[in-house]
Amino acid sequence: MSAPAVWIGIPFVAGAMILFIPRVRFATLAGGIVAALLALIAMFVPIDTALLLGSFSFKISASIQILGRSLLLGAADGPLLALIYGTAALWFFGTEAAGVANRFTSLGLAIISLLVASIAVEPFLFAAPILEMAALLIIPLLVLPYQKPGRGVLRFLIHQTLAVPFILFSGWMLAGVEASPGDIGLTTQAGIMLGMGFAFLLAIFPLYNWIPMLTEETSPYVAGFLLWALPAFTVIFALGFLDRYTWLRTTPALSNAIQTAGLVMVVSGGLFAAFQRHLGRIMGYTSVAETGLMILAMGLKSAFSVEITFLLLISRGLELAIWSLGVSIIQQEKDSLRFSAVRGMIRSYPLAASALLLASLSATGFPLLAGFPPRLALWEGIASQSPNLVFWMLAGLMGLLTSAIRTLAVLVMAPEYTPWKFSENWIQGIMLGVGMIGLLILGLFPQVMHPFLSGLPAMFEHFGQ
């Protein structure tokens, strides 16, 4: 048995089989259990190491060959796989509570397996078309069979597809740069191509207009899943580039460009979020700002850059899951997510509204919540480089805080004497409760993430060492 077969093949096949389970509850359970089991195996069974169970010896080998190239998941990838499938399990267990169609679990598993393939493929440049295939699989989740496709979906499709040529071609040019590092013209061209590719993939300013459109016109839960999964793997892909090519890490202009791009996203995402009157669009702009924070972390000239980036990824996964679940539950009651429609909802959906508020406060870096430790670490990192960066990051986070306070104000604005009641069902209550406790645990005891984070830098031989 090889690691790619376990963490790519099995979830893909399981996803296809779950498609035939008619009941949402069973599909949800099956998908969640498969993802949780894969996370546990990744956590406790080392890759490429022989294990002895009684008289039975077995080993999960690291790679398999496909069409002359290899898919490789080494021992260093174990913590990452555990994180990915653990977070995916959380998303899948929440499917029924969010009221999403049962194909979310099956397609979700297939998407995660493709995304894992994107970090396993060697050479890693070939990840670009695999990321595109994952993006294409999301389309049936974003648009229901009897739903008119919105502009956001088409723009998402266009942007993800345009990234493929840029990334693949830049990979070829980067090989040329390695051969003749003194060629400034070629280096600049390769940098521009690479930058364009990642600008499309990560939806860097001003190419993120599809995100708020998507969070407005599609299911918030599916949009949240998309906004967690694709940027997370794209960031890992980008870290691979920085690790592989020394000149990308050492060129000051490029490092500044990465930080500027991140900062613009934090500031613009935060400011736009502050002026929105739609819960879905606020979630979209907040995710833009969070992607900006990750880009900012990648551009840090610090040995802790990788740890901070992954810490941001973990908190983002949990925040988006809770946030989108809360919004989805509210949307089941009210068709519109505009402020005028959701006024006073905390009286009838206290858990959903609280989860939504906690997640949005966590995104602003509110103390005691999951988003606080990574933002504090990032703040410390950029403060050592430039006070200007600190100021602009603060401006972006203030924008997010404004949007969180406005959301709070709208949700509690119920007519006088409106009775309090729990309208969430028990599954929704459990999922929201677990999520909120998770946000608090990650905020109060961030060291619980240490077993995962300590092993992650080993994935990258040079970057962040």
Binding site: G68, P129, K148, P149, L157, I158, F169
Partner: protein, 199 residues
């Protein structure tokens, strides 16, 4: 010499087909031109890849076109779907196609000089397709046209990428992306039609 002449004929076919797709209103004609475009692209890819591998591009392209065509054929919509984006005049599109042709003609020799060995027809054909595809995306919001534009851009890229990368895996992945794009387009077309039917 013969191969060079045929390559230039392929470039001419690409120019006519891609400009025709940009200007044409009839979806049947447009999909026919897309299939023709794949034929010309196939020839340009054979300049750098063996025939067997290059034929993957042709077969995939035609399958993608067939998937889109069969889906569109099954939809009960009016043939003359109104275009919502502006400007929408045929002369304007022809003007844009002319600009792209000029840009491709100007840039092709420079790219050929920067990356020797690609071949002028390969570079010119590739640039034409990428440019026309981008223009296509800029002037339309119709699902079928957007997917055609994306497929056109990818075809243009694949022609030039075939000259620098001959991995079987990447050929397979790009073929899967093309098919996936066509299938996603078919799904969106059906969803769009169903929503209008139920409205």
């Amino acid at each position: 010499m013969f191969a060079e002449i045929v390559s230039w004929i392929a470039v001419a076919v690409i120019l006519i087909a891609s400009a025709g797709m940009l200007i044409g209103r009839d979806w049947r004609l447009n999909l026919g031109l897309l299939a023709l475009q794949y034929m010309a692209a196939f020839w340009l890819v054979t300049r750098h890849w063996p025939l067997g591998m290059a034929s993957v591009k042709l077969v995939t392209g035609w399958m993608a076109t067939a998937a889109l065509g069969m889906t569109r054929l099954s939809l009960p919509q009016d043939d003359n779907e109104p275009e919502t984006s502006w400007p929408r005049g045929q002369w304007f599109r022809l003007f844009l196609a002319g600009i792209i042709t000029l840009l491709a003609a100007a840039a092709a020799p420079r790219i050929e000089a920067a990356i020797p060995g690609l071949g002028m027809p390969v570079v010119a054909g590739s640039l034409l397709l990428i440019g026309m595809g981008l223009i296509h995306l800029g002037v339309t919001s119709q699902i079928l046209r957007v997917i055609s534009g994306l497929l056109t851009i990818l075809t243009g890229f694949e022609i030039i990428y075939a000259a620098v990368e001959s991995s079987i895996l990447v050929a397979g992945l790009l073929a899967a992306v093309n098919m996936g794009l066509a299938l996603a387009g078919s799904y969106l077309l059906m969803a769009n039609s169903s929503s209008e039917g139920s409205a």
